[in-house]
Subunit: 494 residues, 2 copies
């Protein structure tokens, strides 16, 4: 597949100098235009050693307005990066909507290098590629334009380049042992790269293979490619918005669907005495397990979802009572900040990812996408139906990294909710917790029920099971939450 990039394309200096001013003007004007749109552009610059990745990136930086772009180079990960799932470092530097991110080295670098050095087998590479495709698909679904450029160089050219560099003492130091090794591995590298590029080229996110032997040719080609792709994306975007808005999604409730939640026995309860004994017992147990997990650098992510007044706060407090405050973080999810709003909706959850051995507790979470955003129409039907798979992938990234992931749904019935609302209105320091909106949400109980059922059935996997908590009785619910976390930690420590 690289043949076309081995023809030795060249652009002479005069042609180059003639074309550059126009290209630059167009790029700058376009970048200015891009500011208005709610999508971001990711430009991946990959390729073989000596293919001129650095030169091309330098030129792009010179041509574009640095205020609305960001260049990210990924060397070996820092310890803060190593302690999180592998895609974290890419998420943390994701460009905001309306701006451009240039990636030198990307999610492709490590999978290719590992396979070339035989650190992985084909099956593992395939698995990594599947994850990459999912990531790119999710970004594309969010509107992101991904432009993937591969700068190619023939083996002889690579050899020649190293020779040339070695000639003068001025440049000889640039040739490292790593370069020599890479030359030796050239054939393996190209073979692996071929597989990777074939596997990950789609109509939506294709690879552009570019002859890297002449920097004038390659930079012009990359520049023109960026210009064309962004223009096409803007046009597509405009067209989509001119079309009539999709019809409102049907809000009919399918009454005869099997309801997972209906099977919960809400009469389960614990009396005060049993509760007190068990609370002591399990908090003690959890304290010990959590300390062991911390020592073994096992992180946890606990998600609390549930009906309003379902008792999330109380359950979280009883749980954290057994933990060391220096080691956990409760992250409440409210309206996104403006920095969060210009990113993919999962970005704000990536940013709170715990370091090794720590615990992040989400009071509400990414499930808002398929609950409140679905029911209230904040997300389009297309967005929330797509979210199930996105969430499953996201959670898989967590569990694959060894994070203990627990998802609690605190379930109560409408009568119990009403009772608690009224109770809250009586207690001074709880009054702020109850607003008119809470009452309005009650009226949509049936729609929320449907959403919860869909959520539980579509996002439960072996590694990321939902823990459904019968919560009409707070005592029962709190104990069950702590017990569930204990069990999960025991399993992880085993």
């Amino acid at each position: 597949m690289f043949e076309i990039a081995e023809l030795g394309h060249k652009v002479n200096k005069a042609d180059y100098n003639e074309k550059i001013p126009g290209l630059r003007t167009h790029l700058l004007t376009q970048q200015q235009q891009l500011r208005k749109y709610d999508f971001s552009v990711i430009i991946l610059i990959s390729g073989v050693d000596g293919g001129g990745k650095g030169d091309v990136v330098n030129l792009l930086n010179e041509w574009l307005d640095p205020r609305f772009m960001l260049t990210n180079a990924y060397d070996s990960p820092s310890d803060e990066e190593r302690e999180r799932p592998k895609f974290w470092r890419f998420w943390r530097t994701m460009p905001a909507k309306g701006s451009i991110g240039i990636y030198v080295g990307s999610w492709y670098s490590l999978p290719i290098a590992q396979r070339v050095h035989n650190d992985t087998k084909d099956a593992e590479l395939q698995h990594q590629l599947t994850q990459i495709k999912e990531l790119e698909q999710e970004l594309a679904d969010d509107g992101t334009l991904i432009i993937k450029c591969w700068l190619h160089l023939k083996k002889e050219q690579q050899k020649k380049r190293l020779k040339q560099l070695k000639k003068t003492p001025e440049t000889a130091w640039q040739v490292t042992e790593r370069d020599k090794l890479h030359l030796k591995l050239y054939d393996d590298f190209v073979r692996v790269a071929e597989t990777v590029l074939q596997e990950t080229s789609s109509t939506q996110n294709p690879w552009h293979i570019i002859d890297g032997s002449d920097i004038r040719y390659s930079s012009l080609t990359v520049g023109q490619c960026v210009l064309d792709k962004i223009q096409a994306h803007i046009t597509k975007h405009e067209l989509k918005h001119q079309q009539p808005a999709p019809t409102q999604h049907s809000k009919i409730i399918h009454g005869n669907q099997p309801r997972i939640l209906d099977s919960l026995d809400l009469s389960l309860e614990l009396n005060k005495k049993t509760y007190s004994t068990q609370l002591n017992l399990y908090q003690g147990k959890l304290n010990k397990l959590a300390r062991q997990a911390q020592q073994k650098k096992i992180s946890s992510i606990l998600v609390f979802e549930g009906w309003d007044a379902g008792g999330k706060g109380g359950a979280i407090r009883r749980l954290t009572h057994a933990l060391d405050a220096r080691n956990y973080q409760v992250t409440p999810i409210a309206a996104p900040t403006d920095e969060e709003r210009v990113q993919h909706y999962l970005w704000r959850f990536w940013r709170h990812m715990p370091r090794a051995g720590r615990i992040t507790i989400y009071d509400r979470s990414w499930y808002g996408r398929v609950l409140v955003e679905r029911v209230e129409g904040f997300a389009s039907e297309q967005q929330w139906t797509r979210a199930y798979a996105e969430i499953v992938n996201f959670e898989q990234a967590l569990t694959e990294h060894g994070i203990v992931l627990l998802k609690f749904w605190l379930h109560i019935d409408p009568d119990e909710q009403l009772r608690r609302f009224q109770e809250r209105e009586q207690i001074s320091y709880k009054q702020h917790k109850i607003t008119e909106e809470d009452y309005r949400n009650r009226e949509k109980w049936a729609e929320y029920s449907l959403a919860v059922n869909d959520m539980v059935s579509r996002t439960s996997s072996q590694a990321a099971l939902w823990s459904l908590i019968e919560a009409n009785n707070k005592r029962y619910a709190r104990i069950k939450v702590i017990k569930t976390y204990c069990k999960a930690l025991e399993k992880a420590l085993d």
Copy 2:
């Protein structure tokens, strides 16, 4: 000074249980109230080993609403933290206005530990304490309430505690070699702590020394202290806002002040040919120096300030042309995001601090405080006059860490500016750069001149000198900028 905390204060269980519900309600109500105010609260929990720091922090976490607070524990710094000035790790986790940050371990931990272990001498400790006082003063000036609690324990009590822990196998493992060492160093520790506490107790930010021998007593005392201090701060804040607004600061221009900028020779220029030769020469030189700096992990921060149309963008582009795009970041400073607005004005600059060996280029910077914010009245006179010292301290933190810091002022005269504005209006891809505001700002040339003169004279230090660039001739300016950076790198590499 610790005598009062060695009296063995105790609270019995009945008293404690009676007081807690009221305290909790007050804290929660107050925390709710705090949301409205534009200041943050920092609670430092420090003290001797076994003084119950962990217990107190756990209780505060239980009592307060986790949605509007954050607990930060500072273990040994990560590599990303080690690569930045020492206060960076504290800035990155600063609580937002309206919320509470609890710090376990803080900027005090390392200075105390280093002195106790004789890694530093008294003079160094004094220097560190000065920096701490400056930091706390700056936060306090910004409205931040800092509550500093020191949990004390007598030597015999510390001994007793370790003995008790060792008794049962259940707890014996908790006693580490470090604990034993700390017991041995108890006297030194208390002596150093005494100096530190005395030095850093001010009327505004006093230390609260609390008997840590009884957890019920210490947690109640800390809780009550937090409640009282926040209440007093709110009252003070309200009073300040009820007072008549301070009179507008005088905008009279002191015409007979010596003007640093007036001494610049704006007729300096380079012809095209000399420019072309020198550009090549110095870009080549810079490229080499920058690579060496990268290898030696020397970071740079370059600040570009100047008149509108002074040629910042062009100078930056000529400079970055010589750099590797993977290694620098141009950070344009526009309006703050809402996450930045709820922080100290220097916070957004701390967050872009480069990692070791990298370069951050600011297109406009923290100097906005004493330029546009001063002239346009966005900052109060109190705020911008205070900013000179804050900026000097901030820059000292950078240069002490070994960062190469350069500050460029690109100077042109009003006629040249007008010429450039008109020119910009003619060039399609530059039109977006010119707005009505630019013309409005021109009318305030005299006021801005005064502000620039004050800025240069009050924020120039040996380590952070202003480079004044005669910029009526773009060619001359660009070469001088690159030459200046080359010289600075040569000095740093020496």
